[in-house]
């Protein structure tokens, strides 16, 4: 593929913890708010107060149910934004070169002034991470907040994506996934982070941490309570009172 860099200097991305995400949509709105006022064209809303409101969002939360056999069904809140794939098909299909992957950090971006709004990149993305803006006619996608993470007008500790900074549960982590010394890399190792749709061959940079074992998947026997005192309830009570 000629238009993807052979190698990027870093692989910046997100790690999303499905065990912690409470599905609050905070990251969705924070993302919308930051990005409608910053990088590129605004994220417009059609029929905003009407019958079929429909706007552009770069990050959305789905809610799934997992129905195992013989155990209670589980609910999983599932945030999804661009995964900044290493083998990003959205880049290679782009006829204008508007879609590109940055060499320095691996961020997949759209250069909106070159975008003709053909929509092909959105088709090529298996994850549904790109949305064409109906007002501006250009393709919008997660920018990994490229205008925040290096922004010298923002305090150092806030140079993280808007969605990460806002997530109340701390379910979103940001960092360099190619750096084995980074905390985010460790997190992925430790929690067995996974790729979405690995069979699509996109090699996503973003990783998902699967939910931890739940309900009776946990120690099936569990501890049991025993009355230990030979003297029965009152005997036990006396013992306890002696300790006072």
């Amino acid at each position: 593929m000629t238009t993807l860099p052979q190698k990027t200097e870093k692989s910046l991305g997100l790690v999303i913890d499905l065990d912690t995400c409470v599905g609050c949509h905070a990251c969705v709105i924070s993302c919308k708010e930051w990005n409608t006022g910053n990088y590129g064209a605004p994220l417009s809303d059609q029929d905003a107060y009407g019958d079929v409101p429909m706007g552009t969002f770069l990050n959305r939360i789905h809610t799934f149910e997992v129905v195992p056999e013989n155990r209670p069904a589980q609910t999983v809140h599932f945030p999804k934004s661009c995964l900044h794939c290493e083998d990003a098909p959205c880049v290679t299909v782009c006829p204008t070169g508007a879609s590109y992957k940055r060499v320095e950090d691996g961020i997949v971006l759209v250069n909106e002034s070159d975008c003709i709004g053909c929509g092909l990149c959105a088709w090529a993305c298996p994850y549904g991470a790109r949305e064409m803006d109906a007002a501006e006619g250009v393709m919008k996608k997660c920018t990994l907040c490229v205008d925040r993470i290096y922004n010298e007008n923002i305090p150092q500790e806030d140079r993280v994506p808007s969605c990460v900074r806002t997530c109340p549960a701390g379910a979103r982590h940001f960092g360099d996934l190619s750096d084995p010394t980074s905390s985010i890399f460790h997190l992925v190792e430790e929690r067995g982070g996974i790729d979405l749709m690995p069979e699509q061959g996109t090699k996503p940079v973003n990783k998902y941490l699967p939910p931890r074992p739940k309900d009776t998947e946990l120690d099936v026997l569990g501890p049991l309570l025993r009355q230990e005192s030979p003297g029965g309830f009152l005997g036990w009570l006396d013992q306890q009172l002696e300790k006072l």
Binding site: V22, C24, V103, D147
Partner: protein, 928 residues
């Protein structure tokens, strides 16, 4: 390789940041409002703020869309059409004030109770209650009575503080966390942050909830309980712990009233100073509970001055060791397997006792005993409306607190800890006040905590003094009033008719009310003379809500970014377990419409009426506006709405003379003030001398208020005794059985009243994290997430009814029927259906189109819930609430479901109101 454009990765973010307090909900997070060209550009969390530490929820980030909402009211409105039609004319503020004054002054001079002033989820209750008190009406309350008074009262009567946002689990040290009946809660962000911390630390989270979404989705274990049965489940856990001897006896003996002696009359045995007595094992004699060196006994019948008495612990053990609370006995009702209950009890015990924490922090208790260490029991609990919005909710809340107490996990490391000004025992709270004198203020604050029947708000003939019938035998401990009964009672003229209904920030003709359709009819009903039965209605809202259409005079408020507000320790502060704190809002942008902050308008109205405290001697207004009041009003000398930066030099903490630069100092400090509690005062605070002294210093108390946690609630025993026929204050006979059933001094469980036959399912609502009641739908971003609300149906019912995707169903309750879209959910209690709360909207409201999904597909469950129970044939009106506190029993709703033909809109249709605001824009490009 592709051409890679040069990016400016350091663009300027904004021209200016102004720090204030969010009000997209009542959580009150700190926000940084970025302004660009004088417009609100971006809102983010304030990293230094104690509540949210930088994070922000969906609503908070969507604040910009609320601020620029097309539904904002623009000027005072006077009704010109019929009530409910939404036809108004814009008037000036001068006209509005004079009109209001002309309605209110005669009422005050003749019969102040003919004004009913009720407020919603505002945070200025210390101002509004004071205003109502100065006016002289007994008819004031906020919305707590239908919100979660069970939680508040259950907490105060047991622990001297409640879950709510008045305390918090120790997120940093808890090993196990159990959360009952919470979807969002007021502590929205802190709970999410806390869960994140627990997850990070690997602590176990257990969610007890019929529905598995949100917090319950991330819980490590989900207990899908059947609604209304938590009390049984909790008492069964206590049963298991007692049976196994896994209770914290030293803690119970020292810090709770477990050793306190109870006489045959059910009341505490006291000495001549009124101190509760315990049986001391050292002297083998009765001693006051707080005597130095007592080693109280916890069992055995003793004689004190010829009266037989037994300690609370023995009564409790006897009650809960009873086989009726064995896991096997409660499994069917609760829907939880007996084995699960036993295992959970064991896990609780394991966490509390095997993972005990010991902190080497010497402290001295109120008995004067010094302790070298503090013992922590790292099990924490939290609960909210899933427990409290039932008619047995007060007792269930108490049961949960008792569970915490037997585990020894309140106010200790790893457990549940209060936030100043809590803990605060009943004794430190006022009693209810209701003495009316025309032309004069009320005799004291309206709301308080009754100690016994003598504190009820009753006339000598037994009729209610208050329009909502709070503090009557029907709901004796209605500590937050009963706003949900006001319209119904005023319409029925029971206990008496009123003249002016004045409301603030509560959508009472819609989602805030039970029986929505009925309430709409009551508000528009006319008497034989063609006059409205409720003659005059004044309402303050900031937006074009459903309620606006039902008022005669509208006082339009600003948005939260355009006004001063005060998040005060006198009200619901933003303190942390480790620090006391309060905060302000200030106009970070000026309104571009003819609107005024309601509090300023209220003070002006008060001044025009010459209300005491609001005028100077010469009759001129005492406060220029709310900001002036925030700085200069003093409740007690040196104690005012804001605790920070007091005194002439601005260094006063909690106490000090008014400081003219106080608001500037708050703004300078990021919009809040925070004062850390000293190290030695951080735990065991009801008993900790260091804390008590610090609290007095800071003006939280005027004298130390040490107390014992109340496993046994004596006030309830007093009501019970009255129901048995003792004492001067006697209930009407028809209420005696109900009082006997509900008013147990030790927590009990009883099934909520009301028909269940033919209504096999429970129907409940949940708050969506990304919506705030009705006011989120005007928000172009949030409404895309929750534009309509299906009814979620469990698998068994889904299959039995043969539902398929896209189906509709008719839901019937004893009170009515609605037809709504259905969706299948597997992770749901098999006897429960639910929907998101307050998404449905009335046509014409909120500047939405007539075909908006909120209007067509959205619906309110409220149509099925009546404020009264179905008639029992005794001719009496039985309210659908907890018989102890009057808490509205929203979640006792029972329904039947049936497949319906496909619909184009949900029913009922409540008609259309004319919009008082111009049509909304079609498309948006925010930030362009």
């Amino acid at each position: 390789m592709t051409y890679q454009p040069k990016l400016d990765t350091s663009p300027p973010v904004s021209d200016e940041i102004r720090q204030t307090t969010c009000y997209m909900c009542a959580c009150r997070c700190g926000i940084n409002v970025h302004l660009k060209d004088g417009q609100v550009h971006y809102i983010e969390g304030n990293r230094d703020h104690p509540v949210n530490r930088g994070v922000l929820c969906a609503k908070g980030s969507a604040g910009i869309m609320q601020h620029y909402s097309p539904a904002r009211l623009r000027a005072p409105l006077k009704r010109v059409g019929e009530r409910g039609s939404g036809e108004f004319e814009e008037i000036t503020w001068e006209e509005a004030f004079e009109l209001a004054k002309s309605w209110l002054t005669p009422v005050r001079e003749s019969a102040p109770e003919k004004l009913a002033f009720f407020t919603g989820r505002d945070q200025s209750q210390s101002l509004t209650s004071w205003w109502a008190q100065q006016f002289g009406t007994p008819n004031y309350a906020a919305h707590g009575g239908f919100c979660s008074v069970n939680m508040a009262a259950g907490g105060i009567y047991t622990l001297g503080g409640a879950f709510w946002e008045f305390g918090s689990p120790d997120w940093e040290q808890a090993e196990m966390f159990m959360i009952f009946g919470v979807a969002e809660d007021h502590d929205s962000n802190p709970i999410k942050m806390g869960l994140g911390r627990l997850k990070e630390r690997g602590a176990k989270v257990i969610g007890v909830n019929p529905v598995r979404t949100g917090y319950n989705a991330v819980a490590d274990e989900w207990v899908g309980i059947t609604p209304g049965t938590d009390g049984l489940f909790i008492l069964s856990l206590i049963h298991c712990l007692l049976e196994a001897g896994k209770v914290d006896v030293p803690y119970l003996a020292r810090y709770t009233n477990a050793p306190v002696l109870v006489g045959d009359d059910g009341l505490f045995v006291r000495n001549s100073d009124g101190k509760e007595l315990v049986w001391d094992r050292v002297t083998n004699a009765p001693q006051p509970f707080d005597a130095k060196g007592v080693k109280p006994s916890l069992y055995g019948k003793v004689q004190v001055d010829g009266v037989a008495a037994r300690p609370v612990f023995e009564l409790m053990a006897e009650a809960y060791r009873d086989p009726q609370y064995a896991p096997e006995a409660v499994a069917e009702a609760t829907g939880i397997e007996a084995g699960t209950i036993r295992r959970l009890a064991a896990e609780l015990a394991q966490a509390a006792f095997d993972k005990e924490i010991t902190l080497n922090r010497p402290w001295t208790d109120f008995r004067g005993e010094r302790h070298e260490t503090i013992t922590g029991r790292p099990v924490a609990f939290h609960a909210m409306r899933g427990i409290s919005a039932h008619a047995n909710g007060f007792q269930t809340c108490r049961a949960l607190h008792v569970l915490q107490l037997v585990l020894g996990s309140v106010e200790c490391p790893g457990g549940f800890r209060f936030k100043p000004p809590y803990p605060k025992p009943v004794a430190a709270h006022p009693k209810p006040h209701h003495k009316v004198t025309p032309g004069k203020p009320l005799d004291g604050p309206h709301l308080g905590y009754p100690r016994g029947p003598e504190d009820l708000a009753l006339n000598p003939d037994g009729t209610a003094k208050r329009i909502d019938k709070a503090y009557t035998w029907e709901n004796p401990l209605s500590a937050h009033g009963m706003m949900h009964m006001v319209i119904s009672n005023a319409h029925a003229g029971d206990p008496y008719p009123i003249d002016v209904l004045f409301m603030y920030m509560a959508n009472m003709s819609w989602n805030s009310s039970m029986n929505t359709r009925g309430v709409m009819d009551m508000l528009t009903d006319k008497d034989e003379n063609g006059e409205y039965v409720i003659p005059k209605i004044i309402y303050s809202d900031a937006y074009s809500s459903e309620m606006v259409a039902y008022a005669d005079l509208i006082l339009p408020d600003t948005t939260y970014l355009e006004r001063h507000d005060c998040i005060s320790l006198l009200d619901r502060p933003i303190s942390e377990a480790d620090a006391m704190a309060d905060s302000i809002r200030w106009p970070v942008v000026e309104p571009d419409r003819d609107v005024r902050g309601f509090q300023s308008a209220l003070l002006e109205l008060g001044a025009r009426m010459g209300l005491p405290g609001m005028v100077n001697e010469d009759g001129s207004a005492k406060y220029a506006d709310y900001a002036d009041y925030m700085v200069n009003h003093e409740r007690r000398p040196g104690v005012g709405p804001l605790a920070g930066f007091r005194g002439e030099d601005g260094t006063g903490k909690g106490r000090g003379a008014p400081n003219p630069d106080q608001i500037e100092a708050y703004i300078e400090n990021g919009g809040f003030w925070l004062d850390h509690i000293p190290e030695d005062a951080l735990y065991m605070r009801p008993f900790n001398v260091a804390y008590q002294d610090w609290a007095v210093e800071r003006g939280l108390y005027d004298a130390p208020q040490p107390f014992l946690f109340q496993i046994y609630a004596e006030p309830l025993a007093k009501f019970r005794r009255a129901a048995e026929g003792h004492g001067a204050h006697q209930p009407p006979d028809h209420l005696r059985p109900l009082l006997m059933k509900a008013m147990h001094p030790l927590p009990v469980w009883y099934a909520p009243d009301g028909p269940t036959e033919g209504y096999p399912l429970h129907a409940i609502t949940q708050r969506p994290a990304a919506m705030y009641h009705s006011w989120g739908s005007q928000n172009a971003w949030l409404r895309q997430i929750h534009g309509h609300n299906p009814l979620y149906v469990p698998t068994a019912v889904w299959e039995a009814e043969g539902f398929e995707e896209g189906d509709w169903a008719t839901l019937t309750s004893p009170h009515g029927a609605i037809t709504v879209p259905v969706v299948h959910q597997a992770s749901l209690n098999p006897h429960t259906v639910w929907t998101w709360n307050a998404i449905g909207k009335r046509k014409g409201a909120w500047a939405l189109s007539d075909g908006a999904p909120e209007v067509t597909k959205g619906f309110l469950l409220n149509h099925l819930i009546h404020e009264l129970l179905p008639p029992k044939g005794d001719g009496l009106r039985w309210s659908n609430s907890d018989p102890i506190t009057g808490q509205a029993a929203w979640y006792d709703l029972r329904v039947a479901i049936k497949k319906a033909p496909a619909q184009t809109a949900s029913s009922p249709d409540t008609g259309r109101q004319t919009s008082p605001v111009p049509a909304a824009p079609k498309h948006l490009e925010v930030g362009k």
